[in-house]
Symmetry: C2
Subunit: 323 residues, 2 copies
């Protein structure tokens, strides 16, 4: 079968001809239609990830067909474990160490396979799993939002941030966004955000406070210096949830603002199997359509990775594996 | 009546003869037996507090007798408001702007007066309110501890930290402490803590991790540089609660550790009226006896303030107002 494989540290990603997965007890081999990229794939391809093994077929997100031609979606978080609060030590994600979805066929645990939401195209289904579960746990499970509350989403444009935006709109939150790219702010406003600010503007915090009147929730994936401004623009009893840290360590965070305003900060990553099922129900109930930035043929995977590396995308970057 | 009053910015604290409080609708005038010091009193007396008004009688904690000679305790957090999650904008604490308990009589809202727990001396009753409610909300309400979990309490010796220790032991937690003072660690261990470390030791984090195997909860009042080591010594799904920030801003905090371990950080201050009532029931149920460091006569208030300023105390510093 054709597959996009991380061959070795020096040889990087290549389109290869690779044996079909072996049948395995408790696993189904499904035929991939579309597979979406995640930053995880980019970081692994650059060697910036813990415990990389070679060779490996990357890819965590997939829309596929099972042996009965049923269209399916896969929960890519394996071995969550028994604790709903946190993943177990053996937790891992489809697409390393197991071979992932950037291939014509992929072998996945039977209990991780769900019928795909009928209102979505194959590309949209593939855009959903990892971003969807991360966004759902971060916003819905951790922050427990109430209709009418104000939410700031930092770094709008990435897959998770956009899913948070769409979930928040379904829950009737007042959503504000930040980005370094004016056109992404405009696109978010067209989707339903009430406002947005450019975080490169030194007064972004004052500006977004003026726009919103303060935030009940902030969902962040950056960390870094900006994080210290969050308590100031939070309302009392606010919740700050973070699922990433692309800008590095948090500094200059005021304990006084945190305790006097009774602010909570939640670290969050991925989600449990029952949360994945809840997320799918939520997507179906509210007819949410994940935003696809672009679709590339499997052989054109380099363009897809370059697109992600450029940070210009607004939504998920998808590979059409059937082409 | 005799009272310890903060006379003016230049004149500082003085023992004065001051008029009895005026009768006021909804308030009772109670006769003070004992009153405990809080760091708040020290900071106000040094001018390091927002919105200081002069002259003012300090003191938030009190054991007193009402007009029927009933021994009473007072919830010192006024105007909490309707939201259990956070205090309202008009929230304030007995002992500025209202005259406080360092006087022979104090006027307090009727609904803030409770019967004092019978198993405590007057000095112990006065040691309870502000430290008790702060500790109860921080540990019990925010962290939701389960028997058998591991808890680190930083800066043991202060009133709140010691109440957290006593509540935690009642809840059958495994408690570890930190201090810069070896004798305070020893005293905590005699009270029931399983271990402790000196936080001036550069390897305190490694040492306390070795002792405990990692923490389900950390209760902190310092913030500062040490805070960044907390996620490393936390178990997955840990809760970090903070009610103070004496060491200033938090820096070098890793987002990756927070989200991957699904750690929550809770800012917490004081507590709601229903939490105060819960705290009293808890004290009575578990026969908890607040730790009194020392008792001074009212006229010797300077010695009491100097004792607090020296940071040598282990438990609450109390004024015997009847002497």
């Amino acid at each position: 079968m054709r597959a996009v494989q991380l061959v070795s540290e020096t040889q990087g990603l290549q389109l290869v001809d690779w044996p079909m997965p072996d049948p395995k007890e408790g696993f189904n081999i499904i035929q991939v239609s579309h597979a979406a990229l995640n930053h995880r794939d980019l970081w692994i391809s650059k060697g910036r990830y813990a415990g990389i093994k070679y060779p490996v077929i990357l890819g965590s997100d997939v829309c596929a067909f099972d042996e009965n031609k049923r269209r399916v979606i896969v929960n890519p978080g394996f071995n969550w474990g028994d604790d709903p609060r946190v993943q177990s030590k053996s937790f891992h994600i489809l697409g390393m160490p197991e071979h992932g979805s950037f291939a014509e066929y992929v072998s996945v645990p039977v209990q991780h396979i769900y019928s795909a939401p009928a209102h979505l195209t194959d590309a949209q289904v593939s855009a959903l799993p990892l971003a969807g579960i991360t966004a759902y746990r971060t916003l819905v499970i951790k922050c427990k939002p109430q209709a009418g509350e104000n939410l700031l989403i930092t770094g709008i444009g990435g897959g998770v941030a956009l899913m948070v935006l769409q979930f928040a709109l379904a829950l009737k939150l007042n959503v504000y966004v930040s980005s370094s790219d004016h056109s992404k702010i405009e696109q978010a406003i067209q989707l339903g955000a009430k406002g947005g600010v450019n975080y490169l503007d030194s007064k972004w915090d004052v500006e977004v406070l003026d726009q919103s009147g303060g935030f009940d929730m902030i969902v962040d994936s950056a960390g870094g210096e900006s994080f210290s401004k969050f308590p100031k623009i939070c309302k009392p009893a606010a919740r700050i949830a973070m699922y990433g840290g692309t800008n590095g360590v948090i500094s200059n965070l005021s304990p006084q603002q945190l305790f006097w305003k009774q602010i909570s900060i939640y670290g969050s990553t991925m989600g449990s199997p029952s949360e994945f099922a809840e997320m799918l129900s939520f997507i179906i109930q509210f007819k949410i359509i994940p935003i696809v930035d672009s679709i590339y043929e499997l052989a054109d995977f380099n363009s897809a990775f370059n697109r992600m590396n450029s940070k210009q995308q607004f939504g998920k970057i998808v590979l059409n594996v059937s082409k």
